[in-house]
């Protein structure tokens, strides 16, 4: 096991945990933030897979714009899932 494998495994675990939190939590605001965390971890994974262009895009869009758009949407509707 080299360093690449170990760091990748840790990051992939964090990513899957964040996705499961986004799936199961009843608070939609927390779900949106969890999906933003997942996007940030995925952008680090893109950087490790030697794709710097995609990493910049994912960090700017997945972690900032997409989360903000989702939070604006939740703000003009309901926050809690039934």
């Amino acid at each position: 096991m080299d360093l690449f494998t170990i760091v990748s495994l840790i990051l992939i675990t964090i990513m899957i945990i964040a996705a499961i939190i986004a799936a199961e939590i009843k608070d939609l605001l927390s779900a949106a933030i969890a999906s933003g965390v997942m996007s940030l971890v995925v952008s680090i994974l893109f950087y490790m897979l030697q794709a710097p262009d995609v990493a910049i895009t994912e960090a700017a869009i997945g972690a900032a714009l997409s989360m903000a758009v989702m939070i604006f949407g939740i703000k003009s509707t309901k926050r809690w899932e039934k």
């Binding site: 494998t5 990513m15 899957i16 799936a23 995925v42 794709a51 989702m70 939740i74 509707t77």
Partner: protein
């Protein structure tokens, strides 16, 4: 033995499919579609990876990773966020008309 990158991205796709099937809240379903999108992007990039290679920027010598999936995913991410905003604005319109986001209440189904 399946590579762990494939396992991670497949699990993201499967979690997205689970949300779309099992949840009834419209915004939750949109979050599920977003998770699926990210999983597919990660899968494409990890298919194009080459061991001990550098990014395809030809300032440095040496083997490079595959540039074609990166070019595909670069545009797909930007398209993804704009389509998600379109879906969210449709959900907001439905909320303004019916006052709820739950699918069974919108369709008028009694459980």
């Amino acid at each position: 033995m399946i590579p762990y990158y494939y396992l991670g991205s497949i699990s993201l796709v499967v979690i997205g499919i689970y949300i779309v099937i099992a949840k009834k809240n419209l915004i939750k379903i949109i979050i599920g579609l977003d998770i699926m999108d990210t999983g597919v992007n990660l899968l494409l990039i990890s298919v194009g990876y080459v061991k001990n290679a550098t990014a395809p920027i030809e300032n440095v010598p040496g083997p490079y990773v595959d540039p074609i999936p990166q070019a595909l995913v670069l545009t797909a991410i930007v398209i993804g966020v704009s389509v998600m905003a379109l879906a969210l604005s449709i959900a907001i319109g439905i909320y303004k008309k019916t006052g709820t986001l739950e699918l069974d209440e919108i369709m008028g189904v009694e459980e």
